[in-house]
């Protein structure tokens, strides 16, 4: 007997639909085919929809690769990546790649996706005009932003265009969206929610022009501007066209397959040639085209059933839902949200919370929904639409969500296996969370957090924990804490507590706790440091700092290390030092036997491994050489990084070093809600990385660009441009005003980046830029506070303050 020869399957198009089809085939008939994949892009397969978060800087390309080369190897699949197929010879059953690689097939699957539509206005071929379809496009956009190109225009205000625009904005470009229609995303949003979306996007700094008809793209060697039909001209270093997609049918057409707008397939996903199947965005099924992934998954299943000859299933189109992947904007849309004369609308508005919901009903069934501002019940509404559920029993409560309607609800997490990790920070699995919920009858996120630590660190998985709670306990889950309390000791939120402190003239921590009905006698490690800061900020000079309510580092004025020793970072003004300082540091290291010396990421020197009883002596010696505490340990002003600037650098336009030193001299010693970092660069090359600092200044020929709200860390955030000023005095004035606004209004442990995300850069501009009077007052309050704050804590302690901190009480043998 001869072993049956495996049939040859070739896939053209290494994208989401094609590879999913292979997976489905492998699942059903693992050994039936020898497979070859041609892909035009030079990699394995990645999750195309995640290009938006990659562009926005929230994910890296590595994070979105779904099938690396090893996946193909493990499954014995030949991958020919980077070589598009250029010819299908249907008679000979052979496809040929661009480099001439031939592959014979018994079954061919075409999954070539679609091509972005490029409107043929004059100038559309200029360099700098691109689409948003693949990783190469994302790279072009990021490179443009990094290369200092500052103006971007996105043509198209649909899902893709807005995600592109948001990403460009996050990359620091001035971004304008041009949309032909009167409202954004008109295919997914009703006019009310579209208007809310527009103002939300504008608040983030995006410029949106609706009813904008692009007339021409102008430029000589590359794009320079965009001209609208009304004659206005917008400067543009980059133009992204996101006006739609067109099925990629050229290859199929040439091979003589029946094509209409897309490659025509039957209910079994076969083309007009029974040996050739097609899936994904390149197909047309019963007149319909596709642009979202959900239907592709269904197509892949049907194709696999048919190709492997395991079942004669048919593809049945289902409704898809859409969400806009812009962090912080919560929306969902599905089904027919316009309705007709037989349908009725239920509309819910909560303008204060920015929430709008529109539900469309016909014959007691939900046929469409738009949720804006609060889409947490999207999954439930979507199920109701898909299952054509009769909603008459809870119709009056429908708009308030499943909890109100008394119906248990599920979300994406319900499909995860119990072993799936929900909280990455603390390594807590879904199973552990559910077990804790059942065993201890937990009903709130706080309880789950306390039991399992899930969502206790960075908090980004909180919504999943909430979903698991809803899943496990249904309507018993109480999702309604209106304001998040500061901690378990109180029901008051941060903002309320701050208001009461000044409103009721509360002067000490016990006063606050008593007046506001704290449930614990002396608070906890979370509320006490917050209260201490709020009081310090409210009553400068008068409030007596409570060392017992300070985290160890701020009490010891050094950073505790894992072995219980400390690190000491002296201030190095603007990153500038001298031979005398360096010599003194060297002497201190030798004299006290300090084990490790390191240059920090903040342009200064760290002495690591100092024992607590050595600290006062080390400080005394550093003080003697003129050095003071660098507050590397504090929720306080930390470093001010600088570059060499006009003093030395051939590109420097202003003296960034002196500017940085002046800023540090003004702001050092200030306690802030979270740590605060600054940087000053001498020209837009920005070597001091001022655009990822809490406050940054970048010199230009004519003055300074002032930036705020950036940080590094896990979630890097690029600053927002606050304003441009001309003089160094103005830089100082704006910096002081910004610091004070942040000190007075942000919540404890909220860095400037999340604070600005919460209150919006427009608000900050309104307080600091638009209103010179308010700026002056903030500046003056900051300087007044500094009169009391600028005392070197090291000098005090070297002189004996809090000496008990550093010495043992007794020795017993």
């Amino acid at each position: 007997m001869i072993a049956p020869i495996r049939r040859r399957l070739v896939l053209v198009g290494n994208g989401m639909a094609g590879v999913r089809t292979l997976e489905e085939i492998l699942r059903r008939t693992p050994h039936a085919f020898s497979m070859t994949v041609f892909g035009a892009e030079p990699f394995g397969n990645y999750d195309r929809i995640m290009l938006s978060p990659v562009l926005a800087g929230e994910k890296r390309f590595e994070d979105i690769v779904t099938h690396g080369r090893d996946w193909y190897e493990q499954n014995g699949i030949e991958l020919i990546a980077g070589e598009p197929v250029v010819r299908i010879d249907r008679g000979a059953h052979i496809v040929t790649g661009l480099n001439g690689t031939p592959r014979p097939y018994d079954i061919l699957v075409i999954a070539t996706g679609s091509n972005p539509v490029i409107i043929p206005v004059p100038g559309h071929k200029l360099p700098g005009v691109i689409a948003f379809r693949d990783i190469a496009d994302v790279e072009t956009m990021v490179a443009a932003a990094r290369g200092g190109q500052s103006n971007a225009v996105v043509i198209g205000g649909g899902l893709l265009g807005l995600e592109a625009a948001n990403g460009l904005l996050r990359n620091g470009m001035n971004t304008t969206v041009l949309h032909l229609m009167p409202t954004l995303m008109e295919r997914q949003l009703d006019p009310v929610s579209a208007t809310m979306l527009k103002s939300d996007l504008e608040r983030r700094g995006l410029t949106v022009i609706t009813e904008a008809n692009t007339k021409a793209i102008l430029g000589t060697d590359r794009v320079e501007s965009v001209e609208l039909a009304d004659g206005s001209i917008l400067p543009a270093d980059l133009v992204v066209m996101a006006v739609g997609i067109r099925p990629s049918t050229a290859l199929a057409q040439e091979a003589g397959l029946t094509c209409n707008r897309g490659i025509v397939v039957d209910d079994g996903m076969a083309t007009s040639d029974p040996a050739i199947y097609a899936v994904g965005e390149c197909v047309e099924h019963r007149g319909a085209l596709f642009g979202l992934v959900a239907p592709l998954w269904d197509q892949a299943k049907v194709a696999a059933d048919r190709i492997g000859q395991v079942a004669e299933t048919d593809y049945v189109p289902a409704i898809s839902g859409t969400r806009l992947k812009v962090t912080g904007i919560d929306m969902f849309s599905a089904g027919d949200f316009t309705g007709d004369d037989r349908s009725e609308d239920i509309v819910f508005r909560d303008a204060a919370r920015g929430v709008h919901k529109k539900l469309v009903l016909r014959d007691e069934k939900l046929i469409g929904a738009v949720l804006y501002g609060d889409a947490q019940d999207a999954g439930w509404y979507f199920d109701l639409i898909r299952n054509s559920t009769d909603i008459s029993a809870f119709r009056d409560l429908l708009v308030f969500g499943p909890a109100a309607a008394g119906v248990p609800q599920g979300g994406g997490v319900e499909f995860l296996p119990d072993t799936a990790e929900i909280c990455g920070c603390n390594g807590v699995s879904k199973g552990r969370i559910l077990t804790a919920i059942y065993e201890h009858k937990l009903t709130s996120v706080e309880e789950v957090r306390a039991r399992t630590k899930a969502s206790a660190s960075c908090g980004s998985c909180t919504c999943h924990v909430e979903l698991l709670l809803t899943l496990a306990v249904g309507s018993a889950y109480d999702a309604t804490p209106r304001v998040k309390p500061m901690c378990a000791c109180t029901t008051h939120g941060h903002d309320a507590v701050r208001a009461e402190i000044t409103g009721k003239n509360l002067q000490t921590i016990p006063n606050v706790m008593q007046a506001l009905g704290w449930s614990t006698p002396d608070g906890c490690a979370s509320c006490r440091p917050a209260l201490n800061f709020y009081l310090l900020c409210a009553w400068p000079g008068a409030y007596r700092d409570d060392a017992r309510s300070r985290f160890v580092n701020e009490r010891m004025h050094a950073n505790i290390q894992k072995d219980g020793t400390y690190s000491v970072v002296p201030r190095m003004w603007g990153g500038v030092t001298t031979s005398a300082e360096l010599r003194a540091i060297a002497d201190v290291v030798d004299k006290h036997g300090i084990p490790s010396v390191k240059v920090t990421g903040g342009q200064r020197i760290d002495l690591l491994g100092v024992r607590k009883e050595q600290l006062p002596d080390v400080w005394r010696d550093l003080n003697a050489a003129g050095m003071v505490s660098g507050h590397a340990y504090g929720k306080a002003l930390r470093t001010v990084k600088t570059c060499v600037g006009s003093e030395w650098c051939r590109f420097g336009t202003q003296d960034s070093t002196a500017m940085g030193i002046a800023l540090e001299k003004m702001t050092w010693g200030s306690w802030t809600p979270h740590k605060t970092k600054m940087a000053v660069s001498g020209c837009p090359r920005n070597c001091a990385e001022a655009t990822i600092k809490d406050f940054g200044a970048i010199a230009t020929e004519s003055g300074w660009d002032l930036h705020v709200g950036g940080n590094g860390g896990i979630t890097v955030r690029v600053t927002d441009l606050l304003t441009k000023v001309a003089t160094e005095d103005e830089v100082l004035e704006y910096a002081a005003a910004f610091m004070q606004l942040y000190r007075e209004e942000a919540r404890y442990l909220e860095r400037t980046a999340p604070w600005i995300e919460r209150v919006s850069i427009d608000y900050v501009r309104a307080r600091i830029v638009a209103d010179p009077g308010a700026r002056k007052l903030l500046h003056d309050r900051f300087i007044e506070g500094q009169r009391h704050a600028q005392r070197d804590p090291w000098a005090d302690r070297a002189a004996g303050v809090e000496a008990h901190e550093f010495a043992a009480l007794a020795t017993v043998a």
């Binding site: 490690a525 060392a547 160890v552 009480l809 017993v812 043998a813």
Partner: protein, 108 residues
């Protein structure tokens, strides 16, 4: 018997040496001992070693009858040394007694 036990109690200082809601350490030939003073002037002692990763409990924030470890925020009960759920572990306690304003520890 009485005299035998009495010799185990070591005088280590007075309550005025420790700030309210604060802690001081006592050096031994092994691990340090952390002595805590609560808001109501009760005094407790633990070996200065968090059951998690040996953080120095003496450097934590004291609240109620607990201390929060400075390294990773475990909350350790001062009366029994137990870590608060969901964390599990126990710091070794040292019997402490207040006589007038003097603090005695029972060390072996």
């Amino acid at each position: 018997m009485d005299t035998a036990t009495a010799t185990l109690w070591k005088h280590i200082g007075t309550i005025d040496d420790i700030p309210r809601l604060g802690s001081r350490t006592v050096t031994t030939d092994g691990d340090d001992i952390a002595v805590f003073r609560l808001a109501d002037d009760r005094v407790f002692a633990l070996y200065d070693r968090c059951p998690h990763k040996a953080g120095k409990l003496s450097q934590g924030i004291v609240h109620g009858e607990s201390v929060t470890c400075p390294l990773h925020n475990w909350v350790i009960g001062l009366t029994d040394g137990q870590a608060q759920s969901p964390d599990e572990g126990c710091a070794r306690t040292v019997p402490a007694r207040l006589d007038g304003r003097s603090i005695f520890l029972e060390v072996s």
